[in-house]
Symmetry: C2
Subunit: 363 residues, 2 copies
C-alpha cells in the first residue's frame, strides 16, 4: 500500500468503510431513509458535543459555521471580545468586523495560549456580549483550556463561543457541563469524514441572543436549521451534502463505539509520542510543551534546512503529506497533524520520515 497519507490539519484520512459509504448513490433528502439517517447523526452529534441541545448540520466548511454564529447571535455594534492565539482566531475576528460588530482583539501571540488572568482582567471591565475563543489553534499547534476560560467568563455571565473546528471529538469538550454557549466543528478533522459539512450547537442562552439578532442571514439561518432538526422526521432547510451526511453518520458511529474517552487518551499518547520523538532527534517544538496540542504538532524548522525541503522530501520519498506554517509562520515551522483517523503505523512512518529528512537535508 503506497497510498498518500495525509498528516495534515485537515482534510484528514477517511477510513475505508466511511469512503465506501461516501461512494454510494446519495439518498434523496426528503425520504424516510434520510430521516432515519439524519436522526441517527443528530443523536451521535449530541453525544460528541456532550449537550442536550440540538446540533445543526450545515453544508459548508467550518468557516461557514463560524459566520453563522456571528450572524445569528449578534447585531451591528455589539461589543464582543476575541481571545486569539493564531490564524483561525483572527479569521473569526475578521468575520465579526465584516458584520459590523464592535469586536475587540485580545491577541496573546502566535505560539501562546490564552492567559486566563489577562483574560479575566479584560472580561471583568469590558461589558462584552460574548467571548470568542479557539480550542485548538491548528496554525500554531496550541490548545487553549476551554473549561477554565468558560469558568472565567461564567463569573461575569459572558457567553462563550468556541471554535472547536479541529478539536471536537479529539480532545475533551463538555458543552453543557462547562457552560459553553456555542460549539462549532466540521466533518474533515477529528470526525474522520470528507470535507463539506460543519456542525454547530447553541445553548438556551445563545438561542435567546438569536431572538434579538438583526444581522442578515438566510442560508446560515440557524433557527430554520434547528426547526429541521427538531422535526419528528428531521431534515435540513436546503438540499444538504447527503453523501457526506451518510459518511459522517458512519464515522461518528465509529468514534462513539471506540469510546470518546479512549479517543482522547489515544490523542494524548500521540501528542506525547511526537513531542518525545522530535526532542530525541534534536528538533524543537514551536509552543511550550504544557500548551502543545495533542492533535497537531508544530515544530520549529532547524536554521540550516528549509521547511519546504522537509515537506517535499517526506512527500516524495514516503508519500506522506505534512504541512508548513501559515501567514507569519510560513517557512518557520512544519506541522504534523495527528488527529482523526491516524494509526500508530502512520504516525511512526511519519516520524521516521521526518528524522530521515532532517538527516539528509542538514548541511
Amino acid at each position: 500500500m503506497n497510498k498518500k497519507i495525509l498528516m495534515t490539519p485537515g482534510p484528514t484520512m477517511v477510513p475505508e468503510e466511511v469512503l465506501e459509504i461516501n461512494g454510494r448513490q446519495p439518498m434523496h433528502h426528503r425520504t424516510q431513509e434520510f430521516y432515519e439517517l439524519f436522526s441517527g447523526l443528530n443523536l451521535n452529534l449530541k453525544k460528541i458535543f456532550k449537550t442536550k441541545m440540538e446540533v445543526m448540520t450545515l453544508t459548508a466548511s467550518g468557516t461557514g459555521a463560524m459566520e453563522a454564529s456571528v450572524a445569528n447571535l449578534f447585531s451591528k455594534g455589539d461589543k464582543v471580545l476575541f481571545a486569539t492565539i493564531g490564524h483561525f482566531g483572527e479569521r473569526f475576528y475578521d468575520i465579526a468586523k465584516i458584520y459590523g460588530l464592535d469586536a475587540e482583539l485580545l491577541d496573546f501571540g502566535w505560539g501562546n495560549a490564552v492567559d486566563l488572568n489577562v483574560l479575566e482582567d479584560k472580561l471583568k471591565d469590558g461589558d462584552y456580549k460574548a467571548l470568542f475563543i479557539t480550542q485548538n489553534e491548528t496554525s500554531t499547534g496550541v490548545t487553549n483550556d476551554i473549561k477554565a476560560a468558560a469558568e472565567t467568563a461564567g463569573k461575569y455571565s459572558i457567553p462563550v463561543i468556541v471554535d472547536a473546528v479541529s478539536s471536537l471529538g479529539g480532545i475533551p469538550l463538555e458543552m453543557d457541563k462547562w457552560g459553553v454557549d456555542v460549539v462549532i466543528t466540521c466533518s474533515q478533522k477529528c470526525f474522520m469524514s470528507p470535507p463539506g459539512l460543519s456542525f454547530i450547537s447553541l445553548s438556551e442562552r445563545a438561542w435567546g441572543m438569536a431572538e434579538k439578532s438583526t444581522l442578515p442571514k438566510y442560508y446560515f439561518d440557524l433557527k430554520k436549521a434547528r426547526k429541521g432538526v427538531m422535526k419528528e422526521k428531521p431534515d435540513t432547510p436546503y438540499t444538504p451534502a447527503v453523501s457526506t451526511i451518510m459518511a459522517a453518520k458512519r464515522a461518528t458511529d465509529m468514534l462513539l463505539s471506540l469510546g470518546l474517552d479512549n479517543v482522547y487518551k489515544r490523542q494524548e499518547d500521540f501528542g506525547k509520542k511526537v513531542r518525545d520523538y522530535i526532542k530525541d532527534i534534536g528538533l524543537q517544538l514551536f509552543p511550550e510543551e504544557c500548551i502543545a496540542s495533542n492533535l497537531i504538532s508544530a515544530i520549529k524548522v532547524p536554521e540550516d534546512i528549509s521547511a519546504s525541503d522537509i515537506i517535499n522530501y517526506i512527500l516524495e520519498k514516503h508519500n506522506i503529506l505534512i504541512t508548513g506554517g501559515q501567514g507569519r509562520l510560513k517557512g518557520k515551522i512544519i506541522r504534523i497533524g495527528h488527529m482523526g483517523y491516524v494509526t500508530e503505523e502512520m504516525l511512526e512512518k511519519t516520524l521516521n520520515a521526518l528524522k530521515e529528512a532532517v538527516l539528509k537535508l542538514k548541511k
Copy 2:
C-alpha cells in the same frame, strides 16, 4: 439491479464512475494534485456556463450561491425586480428582503412562465438595479425563456441574475452571448454529482457592482473566491468539499464529452416523451405544453387519486422515487425529474410504473 432510482428534482442519480471517485480518499486542497484537478474543473465550468469569465465553486447548496449573488452585488435599499413563477423564485426574493433590498415581486403565478410584455412594461418604468429570474422552476415544471428575458432587460441596461440551479448543463444557457450577468447552478441536478457544491459566475458588469456592494459577506465573499480561481495554482479560500470537487470534475468531463448539444437534444426528447406518454394514459400536464420543462414534468393528480398514493405505489412496487408538489401545489401535482443522469430505460420504467399506479389506484 433493484436499486432505488431517483427521478426527482435533485439530488439526481450519480453515475457509477462518479460515485467511485467520490469514494476515494479526499485530496488535500493545498497540493499540486488539487490545483490540477481544480484547474480542470474550472475549465469545464467555463465551457458549460459558456463564459470567458471565472466560475467560482462554493461548498454550499444552490441556495448559498443565490445568497452570494445578493450579498455580493447589492447594498441595502437597492431596488431590484424578481420575476417569479414558483417556489424557487420566491425563495430568491426572500433572500433579497432579508438583506434589506427594495425588492419588488412580479409574480406570474405558479404554473405560468414570465410574460415578456408584462416584464418589459415593468422594466422600462422601474429603474431597477437588477432583474432576478429562474430559468427552470422545478416547483411547477416550467422553463422561462432566458434569452428573450435578457434581451428585454438589455434594452434598459438592467443586469440579469439567473437561477439556473436545476437547468444549467441540461438546457441551453449562453451566459456571455445572451448578456446574462450572473448564472448560478449546483452539483446535484444536471451536473450528475452528489450535492454539496454550487457554482456561480459574474459578468464584468456584475463585478463592477460587487465593487460598490456594502452588504456583509465572508464565507460567500465572491471576490475572495475569484482570487482563488485566478491563481496559477487555483484554490478556494476555505477547505472545500474536495471529494465532491473530484466527483464534479469527472461528471463535467462526461457531460462535455457527450457534447452539450447532444445533452440538450436528449433532454428535449425526454421532455416530449413524458408529455406524449402522460397524454396517452389520460393524464394532464400542470403547465401549458409550450412552456413545459424538458428537465422535470409536473403532472396534475387525477381527482379520484391522491398524490401520495401514486408516489408511494411507485416507490414500493418499483423502487423509483418521484416527488409531489411543494407549498401550494402539495397534493395537486406529482413531479417526475428527468434531468442529469437518466437513461431511456429509467425513464420508461418510471412511465410504466406511473401508468400502472394510476390504473390500480383509480376508484
